[in-house]
């Protein structure tokens, strides 16, 4: 099921020989791989393998001891996370990191923060350019809301939404930033099949319609096999496989480390 009508482009992001350790714990050990433009890349591996850490490295939250990251050809070693955001990297989190005190709409609007430039004096007046800007961005966010089918909860504070919807709002916040590269950390954990299907639909649509490049971490092999173009497998900080879903599934090392008994 990996036949692909989309055009997969050149390398968008390359990580090279990344090594990251915390005290005695080696979270990542010389990991290299690349993400190509427009593709959906899945990162899998056992718990504690360093998958989330990898995403944290990519968007600048962790600073690796060794190795380089090149986004669109530009290499960097150290940077603050907001710089990554400005370059067009958006993400969602494993343990939902929504702004709990705000409504769904406001959460998604924060995703557009970088697109809004009016000074706070205009904001204080809420008039003229500031109002115009606000309305324009609101319109964009409404599009995202429609796309994700969460109109009904637009004004609800996110803190009390059920888990699945929170994940969806988080996706919305990332989409609102119109990212070039979207990093998703276990977007479907804690969902039932129906909800996973919805989520897959969103991911595929985003990838199809906007051409957004997506890297996602997921434990549900069904999902990984079905929607990803390529799979990278990490095991205790090392990369043990990298290839098409079918090839990875057949890889003995992967079966031992991760899948256990062969999976349906």
């Amino acid at each position: 099921m990996t036949e692909n009508t989309r055009k997969i482009g050149n390398t968008l992001l390359r990580v090279d020989d990344i090594t990251l350790s915390f005290g005695g714990v080696h979270a990542l050990n010389g990991v290299s791989f690349e993400i190509k433009e427009h593709e959906i890349l899945a990162i899998i591996g056992p718990n504690g393998a360093g998958k989330s850490s990898m995403l944290n490295v990519i968007n600048g939250f962790y600073h690796p001891q060794k190795g380089t990251i090149a986004f669109e050809g530009r290499e960097r070693k150290r940077m603050r996370p907001h710089v990554a955001a400005e370059q067009g990297i958006a993400r969602t989190f494993q343990n939902i990191a929504l702004f709990k005190g705000m409504s769904t709409l406001d959460n998604i609007m924060t995703g557009r923060m970088l697109k809004m430039k009016r000074s706070f004096l205009w904001q204080a007046l809420y008039w003229g350019p500031a109002l115009k800007e606000e309305i324009e961005n609101r319109e964009f966010c409404e599009k995202v809301i429609d796309f994700l089918e969460i109109q009904a909860i637009r004004k609800t504070p996110v803190g009390k939404l059920p888990y699945g919807l929170q994940k969806r709002v988080e996706l919305g916040r990332a989409l609102a930033a119109e990212p070039r590269l979207l990093l998703l950390d276990e977007p479907m954990a804690g969902m039932n099949v129906e909800e996973k299907e919805d989520m897959c639909r969103f991911i595929l649509d985003v990838n199809d319609e906007f051409g957004t490049t997506i890297a996602l971490i997921e434990h549900d092999m069904g999902v990984v096999m079905d929607i990803s173009d390529r799979v990278v497998v990490l095991d205790y900080g090392r990369k043990i496989a990298d290839g098409s879903p079918d090839a990875v599934r057949a890889n003995g090392e992967v079966i031992d480390a991760y899948l256990g008994v062969s999976h349906e």
Binding site: I44, P46, N47, K160, G164, G190, N192, V193, R201, Y258
Partner: protein, 284 residues
Amino acid sequence: MSDTTTISRGQAAAEDNRPPILRVNNIEVIYDHVILVLKGVSLAVPEGGIVALLGANGAGKTTTLKAVSNLLRAERGDVTKGSIEFEGTSIDRLTPNDLVKRGVIQVMEGRHCFEHLTIEENLLTGAYTRRDGRGEIQKALEMVYEYFPRLKERRTSQAGYTSGGEQQMCAIGRALMSQPKMILLDEPSMGLAPQLVETIFETVKSLNEKEGVSFLLAEQNTNVALRYAKYGYILENGRVVLDGEAEALRQNEDIKEFYLGLSATGRRSYRDVKHYKRRKRWLA
């Protein structure tokens, strides 16, 4: 509405001749005095049974479990109607501490480890209510490490710095430390690697068979849950809409469609769903 005849509605488990260890009678739960979440939920867990509580996000699974373990009050929720019995006596008024002493413990959804304590200290807090001496507790600790070797490796790390899956193992291990008669497991498989999901359910099974621990587990992973559970309840919108033997549920057409992702021709691909949308519910 389902048309499968093997499935009865209501408290089917009562037909079992053993008295249930846990019985929830028609409870209603309100959060913040205004948000009505459970609208009359009844269920029963037979002694030594594994019962699965299934349902979509926000159906009220967590709320049901918290109502049983009496953790609701800490979230400004209230059981306004109905009653809950454990081993035949009402437990509505007991504190969570009393419940743990009686052998009911909950593993909370979303891990909830004690961030600043090390993994081992986390596990030891699970044995807080035990009075049977250091030796026994040490044994229990070894048992947990046997189930989850990864925890042993990370025993001296602060829980806040461990990965999501490690925290999940820690939370489950912590509950095991109290030697419970009944465990309320809230989404144990969330965020765990496939191999580990199997491990955890195998653990559940072996605890159930060897030690006679009863389980009430809320799960999204219907597939696995129904493989290990003996009985299941489907919750939707705060109501039990369907219940029955696990095997029967697995055969139910609707369950297949919505919870197992199976279509007539076998497993549906996630890629296909892109092309059709459908919404069907037992109850609006």
